[in-house]
């Protein structure tokens, strides 16, 4: 808040040109959406120590946000299957643009910036055909939609990009329809994949798991060192089977699945809500709000430890560990031990924490 006030004061004094950076928004380390005690929703910029850098009201419950790599701008997505997203100026709180999914498309709630921050990519569903789409929106052209590419799968959820603007889409495998929120369509036929897609939409590599893991919906992605991609899954079968829920892949190499003790696998209840590497990119954490658990692995998929925390979901890289957030308003840093950072009464952190300038 102080950052914002100082900025406005400076602006009024005519001492700055309006070329903003994340420092002007209070240098947040992460962004997170939350429900507040009033019942309303807001997007927060959160400092390294857990304090609020800014708060911008949101029209409805959010899912994830996409942070612009340099400008203090965030795109907040509605929950899937939503058709709206808002681009926010995180210094002034002003809405820079409202993105509306084109006819026949809905957003899946995640996005990423490519082309040095000029193009926003959004994960979308062509809900008549069920084919996944990456929507392309140009920031320099007033957030106009400038095209779309296939995700080469059904039900894309999180998308990220590698150097060279190669997009990675987690194609979850099942469909949704905006008329039936919360309903998963075609689960028995699902065939999820992780797709590497070139900037012009060409499929570069597709990763599918073995037949017996067909019901494991690949939904969230985190990026490690040297092109290592970690993905979190949601098992659509019996959760008591304790199936693997995290995979590691590097282009041209075989996929490695997690090796959790059976009791930790079962405690996750077949669900990963979020995934992240730590700041050093040597460890991976996955969260399950249903199991109230975070599991931490090394880069080879070896299980390191479990963290018990009620309704925990948001994870983001932190120095020597992870930021964690939960539906009870808790914000923590998890290294070897858990350190509370902030607890806001009545604030319920939503599914994802998004790193700024990652």
């Amino acid at each position: 808040m102080i950052g914002r006030r100082n900025f406005i004061a400076a602006l009024l004094a005519g001492s700055v040109v309006p070329h903003l950076s994340w420092a002007d928004a209070g240098s947040p380390a992460i962004l997170g959406a939350a429900r507040e005690e009033s019942g309303g929703y807001a997007l927060f910029g959160i400092a390294e120590d857990g304090g609020d850098c800014f708060r911008i009201p949101l029209p409805a419950r959010g899912h994830a946000a996409a942070a612009h790599p340099t400008a203090p701008e965030a795109v907040a997505f509605a929950r899937s299957p939503g058709r709206f997203a808002v681009v926010l100026n995180c210094v002034t709180g002003e809405v820079l643009a409202r993105l509306v999914a084109p006819e026949g498309r809905h957003f899946y709630g995640h996005g990423t910036f490519i082309a040095d921050g000029d193009i926003l990519c959004t994960s979308e569903n062509d809900f008549e055909t069920g084919q996944g789409r990456i929507g392309l929106w140009s920031r320099s052209q007033g957030w106009r939609r400038v095209g779309e590419n296939p995700t080469h799968g059904v039900g894309p959820h999180e998308i990220k990009h590698l150097p060279g603007d190669i997009l990675i889409a987690a194609n979850g495998g099942y469909r949704n329809h905006p008329d039936r929120p919360g309903v998963k369509l075609d689960v028995p036929e699902m065939r999820p994949n992780l797709a590497y897609v070139s900037p012009d939409g060409e499929l570069l590599e597709k990763v599918e798991l073995n037949e017996e893991l067909r019901l494991n919906s690949i939904r969230h992605i985190a990026l490690g060192r040297d092109g290592l991609v970690a993905f979190g899954m949601q098992w659509q079968g019996d959760p008591a089977l304790g199936m693997p829920l995290m995979g590691l892949h590097r282009r041209g190499e075989a996929t490695v699945l997690d090796r959790m003790p059976v009791y930790e696998a079962m405690a996750m209840r077949g669900y990963v809500g979020s995934i992240a590497f730590d700041a050093e990119r040597r460890q991976i954490a996955i969260s399950s709000p249903r199991g109230g658990r975070v599991q931490v692995f090394d880069e080879t998929g070896r299980h390191l430890r479990a963290i018990e925390r009620e309704d925990v979901c948001g994870i983001a890289p932190a120095d020597r560990g992870f930021f964690l957030s939960d539906g009870l308003g808790g914000l923590m840093r998890a290294g070897e031990a858990l350190h509370p950072l902030a607890k806001h009464r009545g604030r319920a952190w939503d599914h994802h924490l998004v790193p700024v300038m990652a």
Partner: protein, 331 residues
């Protein structure tokens, strides 16, 4: 454990904080007595086994130990969740048949680990605990062993291991109770605010209501076309319905300690389900195989779910608690 001890040491430096309604009562009247009883029942099981480990001699103690387990198995946080203890005590549900595979593997190989109490805790959780012991005591192919046979020594090892775990759970619960009582105090990283201690109890309550309906009843119900009575919990020892009843009674006890205000709708919902369960008169839930019998179990299932609704309306709203902002929201 060292971290916990440090956390406790630093907590005692602070004046006790006011804890949300019900937590102190739940610990004193519900949790600690149940944990103590389980510890006593498994100690008795281990003692009986050391004396006479034949199936016939062990069964009464087994039943009592399982009854006692139903008094705390819903406390699915803290001490029972450390290193997967809850599953090591009772490995269920088990859709892969891991208990059968592990127990049969142990007996087929006559794995000498059963004679080494130091190493036995390293056996897979599916080969230990109450479900593995149920196989040895109630499976016709396994239970006809004599004193001194491999299976007899295996039963001794499981019983001693259960008693050991129950003792650890008791010791840990005494420490954990202090963490809950000091919820929100400086340095309490486990319970960061006062209401978090009530929140875990509340979540355990609702989660187990759901577990009773969806797992304990839902698994044997299977689908209409394919009922699965042998997927019921502990059907070999004839206690699928008994577990549901004991679980509901334990949850009723917890619910009553949690609220300062009367909770008539919740009590009525518990009573309705308990009366229905008793009237079923079907300890194995074998009725799921006929349309009429299935309907009766389905009615019980609905009544159990209705308890959850009553709890949310009376206890949740009363204490300002809500379950699962994220856990109930997908994606």
């Amino acid at each position: 454990m060292r971290l916990l001890a440090l956390a406790l040491a630093s907590l005692t430096a602070f004046a006790p904080m006011p804890v949300m309604a019900g937590v102190t009562e739940a610990i004193r009247e519900h949790i600690l007595p149940a944990v103590e009883e389980f510890s006593a029942a498994t100690a008795d099981l281990a003692e009986t086994a050391a004396d006479d480990c034949t199936a016939e001699a062990l069964r009464p103690s087994y039943r009592q130990a399982f009854d006692a387990w139903m008094g705390l198995s819903h406390l699915s946080f803290g001490p029972l969740e450390t290193d997967g203890r809850a599953l090591a005590i009772e490995f269920w549900p088990d859709p892969r048949g891991m208990v059968a595979r592990t127990v049969e593997g142990m007996t087929a190989d006559a794995d000498p680990v059963v004679d080494d109490p130091e190493s036995f805790p390293e056996v897979s959780v599916a080969g230990r605990g109450l479900m593995a012991l149920e196989r040895l005591l109630y499976d016709d192919a396994l239970s006809a062993y004599g004193a001194g046979d491999y299976n007899c020594r295996y039963a001794v090892a499981i019983s001693a291991d259960l008693s050991r775990m129950a003792g650890e759970v008791l010791a840990d619960w005494r420490e954990h109770a202090e963490l809950m009582r000091t919820a929100g105090a400086e340095g309490n990283a486990r319970y960061m605010s006062e209401n978090e201690a009530s929140q875990v109890l509340y979540t355990a309550l609702l989660t187990t209501i759901e577990f009773d309906a969806d797992q304990r009843l839902g698994r044997p119900m299977g689908t209409f076309d394919r009922p699965r009575p042998t997927r019921a919990e502990t059907w070999r020892s004839n206690r699928p319905l008994r577990n549901v009843t004991l679980s509901l009674k334990a949850l009723r006890g917890l619910a009553l300690t949690m609220s300062d205000d009367p909770i008539p709708a919740t009590e009525a919902a518990f009573d309705t389900a308990l009366v229905t369960a008793e009237a079923l008169g079907d300890p194995l839930l074998a009725g799921v195989e006929t349309p009429q019998g299935r309907l009766k179990v389905e009615i019980l299932q609905q009544q159990i779910r209705a308890i959850g609704d009553a709890i949310e309306a009376e206890i949740g709203d009363g204490l300002g608690l809500s379950a699962g902002f994220n856990s109930r929201d997908g994606d």
